[in-house]
Symmetry: C2
């Protein structure tokens, strides 16, 4: 049984990845602050390498490998940001990355991953095919499997975003992050509680993919069943590491409607002039939907990523 | 006759406006660097207050007024970013702003200016009507007219963006900015040449609005005649202050096609995850169109603003 990460593991991760990541800016918007009656500080992981916080965890996982492990490379199955992040991190260390992708993955994502020099194996678009194909790839290559979120060093890497945010801005009443598989949320909660013992950590989740919400309040790890949301980064279920970390360190999980996700996304595009993907908009959506009381508070929000298809905007 | 600003005026402007402006981030993109074979550093004035560098000049102009002058307020005619910038700066100082706008200005711009508490006077959408209406407003109120670019303290304020960029990053081979009325360009050139005596300063202009290009190479101030470009911030002609500053401090002006403006704009949206308006894309468009040789060079680029209508994107 793997032990759970602590804040000191996040500190080590930060030292390890610091030369490779972007120290992303923290942005504020006077007009959004006026609308919500609070002081919001947005940590812009949409401006991170590969356009998402995922690069932090992938980078930490790749550079934490021993020379012996590293020479065989890393592997994962993913059609999203984790695949690109792992491919880039492996290229930076000069080791192979083997990515299993469903053959119906968007061309743009296949190209991005191939562009970072990863070797792609295509499979049927089912979880069973993805997992069995990955097993074959791992056996043939000896590559280390890096799970997108339920992986010690991935969680530690993701926690460095909140650490940077708090080190830069100082005290917060509240820190918010979206929740999908829980890698970002559990890392965020670990850093927040370690640096600010009185802070509240609140996660926001689309109502159409509310497995974390149901798991949290039933104190039982429940899977995501037929999730449906435009926030395509948040379709996954919590894992055996992220679930206990969330139970121990998160104060509240709230759900939000698709309508408010679009409204929040558009508000950030128009008023902050940055491109965020729908998943990133979920915490602000929760505030706009009055699911979280932020009046007069100082609130840190992790904007998780900015990878959207400009040809398919929801507005 | 007004004297021309020098770098020491820009230093004073910076001290004056520092408490009010955003110190905007400088962003880089590994993938764009690979495409162009250079190191590009983007100064993100799209993330400035009111979404454009215009706030720097407006703010400097408003806060440079004596108490006596300030109490009567400021006025201008504008349908664009300068109107919003001046309105916000005036609100920050607690003085009135009187804005003359053509009655066919977009609703969204009228609302933005009104939202900052400015008093709007509408007029016919002709330059003659705008100027005569402004004269009446100025006479009735005693407000100080702040021209959008051909104004000493506006130019000094605009020059603080390049000053911040160079102070943060250090040496550059080349600094680029778009040119419309020349306020941003002349301020950028003054700061760049003062801080980096060997730097080249190159301006980029849409081929469909090439008055600065023609003026620069004929050494004669020529007006913009029926300009046509999607870069709606660059339709104006150089002025009596900006023209000599540009002749003295700019090394080269190049023109770019509309096609490359769209390509550059989309490249920045997709790869850098920030929203820029077409005017901001013009320098990168010049690089993509091979109008400027950047191979192996370190290049600073001012991204001028991010105010676009999300319902009317060119892609």
């Amino acid at each position: 049984m793997t032990s759970l990460p602590t804040f000191s593991d996040i500190e080590k991760a930060h030292e390890r990845i610091r030369p490779f990541i972007h120290h992303t800016p923290v942005l504020t918007s006077k007009s959004i602050n006026e609308i919500v009656g609070a002081e919001l500080f947005f940590k812009c992981e949409n401006l991170q390498k590969v356009g998402a916080f995922k690069f932090r965890g992938a980078c930490n996982s790749v550079f934490a490998l021993t020379e012996e492990q590293a020479k065989n490379g890393v592997c994962t199955h993913s059609s999203g940001n984790h695949a690109a992040a792992l491919a880039l991190a492996a290229r930076m260390r000069g080791i192979p990355a083997y990515i299993v992708m469903p053959d119906n993955a968007p061309e743009i994502k296949k190209k991005a991953v191939a562009g970072y020099g990863a070797q792609i194996t295509f499979c049927e678009p089912t979880l069973a095919a993805r997992e069995s194909t990955l097993k074959i790839v791992a056996t043939q290559t000896g590559a280390t499997e890096i799970h997108p979120y339920n992986y010690f060093n991935v969680i530690c890497g993701q926690g460095t975003a909140a650490k940077e945010l708090i080190e830069e801005i100082g005290l917060f009443d509240l820190v918010m992050a979206p929740v999908g598989g829980g890698g970002l949320l559990s890392g965020t909660a670990l850093s927040s509680k370690a640096l600010l013992p009185n802070v509240q950590v609140i996660a926001a989740e689309p109502a159409g993919a509310d497995d974390a919400f149901r798991s949290f309040y039933s104190k039982t790890l429940l899977p995501s069943i037929a999730p449906k949301t435009m926030a395509d980064g948040l379709l996954t279920s919590l894992g055996s590491l992220t679930f206990p970390l969330i139970m121990n360190n998160v104060d509240q999980i709230v759900t939000v409607s698709e309508e408010k996700i679009v409204e929040a996304m558009r508000m950030i595009w128009e008023r902050m002039k940055i491109i965020i993907e729908p998943s990133s908009a979920v915490p602000l959506a929760a505030i706009l939907e009055n699911k979280v009381d932020v009046k007069g508070k100082k609130v840190g929000i992790i904007l998780s990523g900015g990878n959207v298809d400009l040809g398919k905007l929801p507005f």
